[in-house]
């Protein structure tokens, strides 16, 4: 009888532990800004660095991370892309289903070739997307991205583009789920994306 009680007690303890762990899983709290309720990510078609069409809605099954920037941007954009590359490294095998794309807000200067060389210095799987100024403007507007050209007469740069530097995360089902601010930590982004990978975007 005593033995039975002991085994029973242990089973109970185990069950409690499992319940706790499960509760922990379902109660994952995202570190990024959550879009609640999630809404379908605005679809778009742009050209990738190889001249192939990149249509967002054809990325179902993948998690897509979008960043708007430009290759002449020496500080903010490389920081965001280096972070995104670090996130993919941290995800290991889970990174296979994570696609990162830079959408240029400077289509005049950023040719597909230049975009390709630029993004691939960070991660060979990255996409560099461009289009006509009108196409870029439409995508930017759909994602609430502000991009304003500023003349810099006193700088060798001639001009810069003030732009929203968020990372936008779209899940496997095409829902826009998360936004990360420019100063988000790599660990936080990786943790959130890993949760999306394991929950299948549900």
């Amino acid at each position: 009888m005593a033995r039975f009680a002991l085994v029973y007690g242990r089973l109970l303890a185990l069950a409690a532990l499992v319940a706790l762990v499960l509760a922990g899983c379902s109660a994952y709290s995202y570190k990024g800004t959550v879009l609640e309720p999630p809404s379908p990510a605005p679809d778009f078609v742009l050209a990738d660095q190889n001249g192939e069409q990149f249509r967002l809605s054809e990325q179902r099954g993948n998690i897509v991370v979008l960043f708007f920037g430009f290759t002449n941007c020496p500080d903010v954009c490389p920081t965001a892309l280096a972070d995104a590359a670090a996130v993919r490294r941290q995800l290991g095998a889970d990174a296979e289903r994570v696609k990162v794309a830079l959408i240029t807000v400077d289509p005049e200067r950023d040719t597909p070739e230049r975009l390709g060389r630029y993004v691939q210095t960070f991660d060979p799987t990255f996409f560099g997307l461009s289009g006509t100024p009108a196409e870029i403007e439409a995508v930017s507007k759909a994602y609430g991205v502000s991009a304003t050209r500023r003349e810099l007469p006193e700088s060798a740069l001639k001009y810069t583009i003030d732009h929203s530097a968020f990372l936008y995360v779209i899940d496997q089902t095409g829902e826009w789920r998360l936004v990360f601010s420019p100063d988000a930590a790599v660990n936080d982004i990786a943790s959130d994306i890993r949760n999306l990978v394991t929950t299948g975007g549900s």
Binding site: T71, N72, P74, A82, F122, D162, S164
Partner: protein, 151 residues
């Protein structure tokens, strides 16, 4: 005993000399420029176009100083810039100078102050090193060696 006092004096004199004429050399650091010490100079890898260099500048003197310019062969033009974060809209702007308070430090880092390398003359590959001459208002020129990293 007398000998020990003597040795202490020599040591103290040496230590004082070290303080006033030189600053410990650190990785990516420099020794020139009285009162100014620069550590951890680095730049992110870039194959063309523009780059940015970052570092920590310490002012161990008792007078405020300011970084007024930077020069080097690495790029066609080298400027001082900052980044303003206006609710996630990042705006990069040239600045005339970067203050380094007396006894304090300023960190040039991603998303903030940086030495902007406009028009790289060579690709920056991880492991490469390049020289920059920082010009301070009070301390004068300070040579630093920046290391290229993919960070």
């Amino acid at each position: 005993m007398r000998r020990m006092v003597w040795m202490c004096l020599v040591f103290a004199a040496l230590a004082l000399t070290a303080c006033t004429t030189a600053v410990p050399v650190q990785n990516g650091g420099s020794t020139a420029g009285v009162g100014i010490s620069v550590a951890g100079s680095w730049a992110r890898g870039a194959d063309e176009g523009n780059g940015a260099a970052y570092m920590i500048i310490r002012n161990i003197g008792n007078q405020p100083d300011r970084l007024v310019s930077a020069a080097g062969d690495v790029a066609a033009a080298i400027e001082l810039h900052t980044v303003e974060n206006n609710n996630g809209v990042m705006a990069m702007r040239p600045v005339d100078s970067i203050d380094v308070p007396a006894g304090g430090q300023v960190e040039l880092k991603p998303g903030g102050y940086h030495v902007m390398l406009v028009g790289l003359n060579q690709p920056l590959a991880p492991g490469d090193r390049f020289a920059l001459t920082l010009q301070f208002e009070r301390a004068g020129p300070v040579e630093v060696i920046a290391e290229v990293r993919n960070q």
